[in-house]
Symmetry: C2
């Protein structure tokens, strides 16, 4: 695989910035590239593919650290399978949690929006002051604090 492009070309082909590419090298997501006599980094198609992989993995929500581990495991042909599988499971769980919350959230938001819009409509056209807040929210007692009824197990830090 011959190294035939400079960093700018690699950047153009992959959509990453040259800064990001150098940064990935620093983090060992990319191997140290060949250099020209004058010190320019030279890259090959392999690097394009590696960056494309990185992009996909990023989009799947893996951190650069995760990605580096996967890539390095893969390189070394140690057994990344189990590791990767566990990582995937973990990600799936995270995604499911977020999805669950987000759906409940959406529902709540939609309800709120609907109520607000209705309250806004019921106002005389010349009303200069806000109906949602003046009526809507006050009518509900504890202002915005009552907006979101949203149960959940919670974890958070101590002092």
């Amino acid at each position: 695989m011959e190294s035939n492009m400079k960093i700018g070309e690699l950047a153009k082909r992959t959509g990453f910035s040259t800064k990001a590419i150098r940064y990935y090298e620093l983090l060992r997501l990319l191997p140290e590239p060949d250099r020209t006599e004058s010190g320019y980094r030279m890259y090959s198609q392999k690097d394009v593919e590696r960056l494309e992989f990185i992009e996909k993995a990023k989009r799947l929500g893996f951190s650069l650290d995760d990605i580096r581990d996967i890539l390095i495991l893969n390189e070394q042909q140690e057994q990344p399978c189990v590791h990767v599988l566990a990582l995937l499971d973990q990600k799936l769980k995270q995604v499911d949690d977020v999805l669950r919350d987000l759906k409940a959230f959406r529902k709540e938001l939609a309800r709120l929006r609907k109520e607000s819009a209705e309250q806004l409509e019921r106002l005389p056209a010349d009303a200069a002051i806000c109906g949602i807040v003046e009526r809507g929210v006050h009518a509900r007692g504890e202002a915005a604090l009552a907006w979101l009824e949203f149960r959940q197990p919670g974890k958070r830090g101590r002092d």
Copy 2:
């Protein structure tokens, strides 16, 4: 509403750290609390509720800035209606976008996991080396680089 707890108590009741509580005050998510003669912050049930609201809103993906705006608009009873309605619409749209992406992502993750697990199973029990990577991935051509077929509209920075 009498202010009858110090910051540590408020922290205990809400699960936020005292540091975080002071930080929220700085960002004006919390009003300036009453103080004892000696300068200790004193809080009331209202603050507990406000922090609970903040927690919910945080979990709903609002930034602290968003949350501050909502809280302050609500407090001032200036005419936040239209503004709030717009905010709500904007959030709804964001949430829908995220939901859409996240569902696609989940599907992709699940597929990947399933394939990986199957490949892992098909290996001889004594195989010391990784099936996903060695076969799965190698069979698919370009190592891990082919793992994730995941189309997507992309945006990213230039150099």
